[in-house]
């Protein structure tokens, strides 16, 4: 390259890299150096890295850009970096093992990158190569760290204090806004909850309506029902005969019931029949006893005084007959006078005279002829 040739400026990736690293490392170095006296040396890692970057930059400042070999730049950087960090790790400033891990990583990366492969001059390509070479190791390291008990011991109280802070801050905000009579976030949320509850009720109504609609009859469903009804009717037709028979049976059953109810009084009749039978039996017994009476009467007729007593009775009867005849005569005389007034009724009254009462009351006035006839007829009857 000719000596008067000007550097290619920002288009040159090596120059870009150098400019970027100069600017950023200076800025970081200043910031970190300024804080060095005030804090524990927690920035040691970065400070070491920046120092090594400064060392690596020195040759690039002196060398014309056109002949700068990226591999040389990397080698210089690695050599100086690894050396500085190894010193830092050995001095005991690496409680979490970060620097040791980083060193290991750097050595692996150095070996890979400087193994003879062509190195890209693009800044990003370099970075990507570095990332590809280191990401797995880094990922494992980070994952081991954040999954460690030591890490979680730090996270636990952090989370507690963080959430406490959030809660306190929110409560304070709410109280403040409330004191200003301004609706707060939770007030709005409460209203929204009411709206959501309302929507839920609408959904329930919607569900009910849907259920209702699904049950509602349509022309199709009615047609289907009609068809099925016809089928049912045709199947029911033979049943009418059966129904008639069932009706007849029912009628018979009904009549049977009536007969039963009619027969109920028969039990009383039966009881009476039983009584009649009893009476018949007793009557038989009475007849049996009466059958013995003629014999007894025969014995009685044999009594000697019986004719005398009969005579006496006859005489009395004659007297009675005489009285009766007399009464009859009187009655005839009386009935002859009012014959004109009631010619039809008189014979009736005459025939009605021989009533039991009248005859008894007029026993002493009956005619003797009639008395004989009567006594004869009465004896014959006895």
């Amino acid at each position: 390259m000719p000596e008067d040739r000007k550097p290619q400026g920002s288009a040159d990736p090596t120059a870009l890299w150098r400019q970027w690293s100069e600017t950023t490392s200076k800025a970081w170095s200043s910031a970190l150096e300024a804080s060095k006296g005030q804090y524990a040396d927690s920035y040691n890692l970065y400070r070491s890295w920046l120092k090594s970057m400064g060392i690596a930059q020195e040759p690039t400042k002196l060398t014309p850009l056109g002949i700068m070999n990226p591999k040389e730049v990397w080698k210089l950087w690695f050599d100086s970096t690894i050396s500085v960090w190894r010193t830092a790790a050995e001095s005991g400033g690496d409680p979490l093992g970060l620097i040791t891990t980083w060193l290991k990583l750097m050595e692996e990366t150095q070996a890979r990158i400087l193994s003879g492969e062509a190195l890209p001059t693009n800044l990003f390509a370099l970075y990507k190569q570095w990332y590809d070479a280191t990401s797995d190791t880094w990922a494992k390291f980070v994952e081991d760290t954040i999954g460690s008990e030591k890490f979680l011991e730090v996270v636990r109280p952090f989370l507690e204090s963080y959430t406490t802070f959030i809660k306190t801050f929110r409560n304070a905000e709410e109280e403040y806004l409330r004191s200003l009579q301004i609706p707060t976030r939770s007030d709005v949320a409460r209203v929204a909850e009411l709206v959501i509850s309302l929507e839920e009720k609408v959904d329930q109504i919607d569900d009910s309506l849907e259920d209702g609609y699904s049950r509602m009859a349509t022309r199709q469903s009615i047609g289907e029902l009609d068809r099925r009804l016809s089928q049912v009717e045709s199947k029911l037709a033979p049943l009418s005969t059966v129904a008639e028979k069932v009706g007849a049976i029912e009628s018979t059953t009904q009549r049977l019931g009536q007969i039963e109810s009619n027969l109920a009084p028969l039990s009383i009749v039966a009881e009476k029949v039983g009584a009649i039978e009893n009476i018949t039996q007793r009557l038989g017994q009475v007849e049996g006893k009466l059958d013995t009476l003629p014999g007894v009467l025969e014995k009685v007729s044999k009594f000697e005084d019986l004719p005398q007593r009969m005579d006496l009775v006859e005489s009395k009867l004659n007297a009675v007959l005489a009285a009766l005849e007399k009464l009859v005569a009187q009655a005839s005389a009386k009935s002859a006078k009012p014959a004109d007034a009631a010619p039809r009724k008189a014979p009736k009254k005459t025939t009605s005279q021989p009533e039991v009462k009248s005859s008894e009351s007029q026993v002493g006035q009956s005619s003797p002829t009639l008395e004989v006839k009567s006594s004869e007829s009465q004896v014959g009857a006895e």
């Binding site: 288009a11 990332y131 990922a139 636990r156 989370l159 959030i166 949320a189 929204a192 959501i196």
Partner: protein
Amino acid sequence: MTKEHSTGFGIDNTLDTFKKYETGMRILLSGAQADTGQTPKEVIWTKNKAKLYRYEPTIEKRFPVPILLIYALINRPYVLDLMPGNSLVEYLVHQGFDVYMLDWGTPGDEDKNLTFENYVLDYLPRAVRKVLKHSHAQEFTLFGFCMGGTMAAMYAALFPEKPLRNLILLTAPMDFTRENLGLYGVWMDEKNFNPDLLADAFGTIPGDLIDIGNRMVKPVTNYVGTYVTMWDRILQDKSMDTWLAMNKWVNDGVPFPGAAYKQWIREFYQRNKLVKGQIILRGRRIDLSRITCPVLNIAGKRDHICTLPQAEATMRLISSKDKEFYVLDAGHVGLVTGSDAKKNLWPHLRNWLEPRSK
């Protein structure tokens, strides 16, 4: 080879380099911007902040059994519909499936008391009814991703009968045995972490805080490696679309309702109650052995959010006769997006679903 190597160090190259650095710096300062979730969709139902999307079919529906996708309570579900050409949802729609997605939305302070009872017993069953009604279907396939998979399994255990036809679990943690959890196991140990502290302080746990926890599982990769990749792609003129979409998604965390967060940490991570059958939602015990429907369980070998044993445990806990454990050499998100997903997971999903969606 980079452009720089091929053209040397000219003024054009310098300007180009500056433009690239400008691009990178803008992303770092303003965050990644990308159009995500582009598959056409309509909202067919909402509840509180949750929305139920139905993706518009691009071809005639080939399968009568619709798919309902549910995602975790953290991060956004559009990772399943990341961007055109790199979207699982788009792929399924193009295959003739009727696809629905339940987006839990962004909880606010008023949602701090929402619990898994609300999500599994109130939101999910209603969403299922809406899906069935909208698609005129009698059955559906439930597809849960990450915590959404755990919730899907809980739903399936509570409602194992019809209309649930199939269950797909994508990186769904079930067994929270400490040894299976990696760094989470150490951090979430009861003696190290009390979830009440955060829940009581914040009400609804900020998404950024949840995100820190997830990123710290792989801190170097997530905090450094991601941006190394970014610069590499910018400087080498590689497409940034996927990186931007993914980075946007990673940084787009949603708050976690405090009550649900406490349940998630205490009952799942710290006490591992799900596999013990001790999770009880409104008096109803979650017994995973009640799951009898066909199950496709997918996990990634390199997944640090839901480790392989966490997902694998499902296979011994459920009673399904038709079940498959499908393992891919991928991470938590790499399973569903990217070229590997297109080659492996998506066709496998289609092949599994096709005979079970008729």
